[in-house]
Assembly symmetry: none
Homo-oligomer: 290 residues x 2
DNA sequence: AAATTTCTGTAAAATATGTTGCAAGAACGA
DNA sequence: TCGTTCTTGCAACATATTTTACAGAAATTT
């Protein structure tokens, strides 16, 4: 076969950007548990996606099919090729790469982690932590361990844009006393601590707590000992088919939290972002002359 | 459901003896490339089996279904159980929070990003990049931009455990020439560059390329200009309901890649990890005496 | 803020699908 | 061979599906 025939899934993904709101909703619904979900009647498909029947009819035409029946036939043909020929093709990962490919296994595990993490997460606690981080009266300190330093750094970079008074506590624990010195009651310390919990971090948390600092903890399902000092604790699932752990679920929560904080402080954040853009422009201009 | 549900295929086989001539013909046609052949309309199924439509209708009733639609639904359900999309269905992420809570909206978007990222990713390219990173003859350099620095750092921390000869190129571009000086043909440079592409990084990539360094690029769907120097490029989806972008999909690919490299270098990696553990222990012991 | 364009759902028309009654035909036993 | 019983397909009917037309809503542009 010379012409690489594109699957409907690929078509949906490629054209996703050019789809309208209702159509995207439909595309997502179709891709959820693809391709079986597309084999029901047009009415059922529409109901599952919470859109009207005509939306389905229109979208399949947009994808290049004459009508819904033709679309379904294509879907069936695809399925037939996939089932009767389980190993052969390798063109599209999502539909044809072997189940055992590490991408598949890893993605499976990560999704599982995300689901469990979100399932256990208390939205009220989440909102509480966001409110605390959005409170401009409180200074925010962020610290991470050997592995989680990257997550801490990520959060720092983004929070720093959203509001003022955010500090990253560096890895070198010798400098930590300087930071503790500045902490005052009501300030917030965000701690990342996942297994192989680090003793230094526990000590830091203890010191901070003594000064009346509120601690937000990101940890794994087994909970870092820091939790006894924390006001909010988020347990993220981290297990994957690998010799070490995954940070994806944690990053998801961190990103969502940043988005939430940014929402709450939007009037300030938008100004800061604008100003930041200007500063970048000036830096660039500056460089040109060097 | 506790009772072991018999598949339609089983039912057909069990009841085969009690079926009539035309019905057996139909049953054979259905079992031939099962279950896809049963997903077409009753008319099509009848034609494929060279029997009349009523024969089909009667047989499905004989099998215990109320009518043809019910029979088809059972087939679809069976298929669903058999094929499950790696990025499974999202029913409710944060079950205790409303659908519109940012946790749910964000999770939706992130899943969508992962799905699209994985859908567009070529497994061969992925494997190729892993092989390159696992090749101990090549030194590996990793660089990230303002936002992606955290990802670069994360990859560095993990790759450093898996193999030797891994360097992190720091943010301060003034020091970059020192690193370029050490790069030799065949080395690998992993570049993270997502929108608001950074000019300095482009220059670095160009310099590296000139020295015969192979470049692996992680970028967004719009592709950083670095791609013209890259041998492997991974486009990750980054859009979320927020003022800036998500790194979750990128992290997923990075983590999977780390796991894959670790697999390939396992004989070396396991030794290194063991040694690392010992070093940690000794450091801890050391501290106790201070 | 008004106007234009685009999108989306309701409702009705067109079409295909699924079901049932009936008569012709095949199979089987006497 | 005949008669009985069971099977099968045709055709009409009922039902569900798919499509089209249209108007209100939403988004976008001017």
């Amino acid at each position: 076969m010379t012409a690489p025939k594109t699957t409907i899934a690929e078509k949906l993904q490629t054209k996703f950007d050019s789809l309208t709101r209702a159509e995207r909703q439909l595309a997502n619904s179709l891709l959820d548990n693809y391709p079986v979900s597309g084999l029901a009647s047009i009415t059922t498909v529409a109901q599952n996606a919470d859109v009207s029947t005509p939306t389905v009819a229109r979208m399949v035409q947009k994808l290049g099919f004459k009508g819904y029946p033709e679309f379904q036939r294509a879907l069936r043909d695809e399925l037939e090729a996939r089932i009767s020929n389980p190993i052969a093709k390798h063109d599209n990962w999502a539909t044809t790469a072997p189940e055992t490919h590490i991408l598949n296994r890893f993605a499976d595990a990560v999704i599982q982690n995300m689901r469990q993490t979100l399932g256990q997460l208390d939205p009220d606690e989440f909102d509480g932590a966001c409110a605390m981080l959005a409170d401009k009266e409180r200074c925010v300190y962020i610290v991470g361990g050997r592995i989680t330093r990257a997550l801490a750094d990520y959060m720092f970079t983004h929070l720093q844009v959203a509001r003022e008074g955010v500090s990253m506590i560096p890895s070198n624990s010798n400098t930590w006393p300087h930071y503790v010195l500045d902490m005052k009651a009501g300030d917030v310390l965000v701690v990342f601590d996942i297994r192989r919990y680090e003793h230094d971090i526990l000590r830091l948390a203890e010191l901070a707590k003594e000064r009346g600092v509120e601690i937000i903890l990101f940890t794994d399902q087994w909970s870092s000992p820091v939790s006894k000092f924390a006001i909010y604790r988020f347990n993220c699932r981290i297990e994957v088919p690998s010799a070490w752990d995954s940070s994806t679920a944690t990053l998801l929560i961190v990103e969502t939290m940043i988005a939430c904080v940014q929402d709450r402080t939007w009037n300030i954040t938008s100004d800061r972002m604008e100003e930041l853009e200007k500063l970048f422009d000036r830096t660039r201009l500056f460089r040109k002359f060097i």
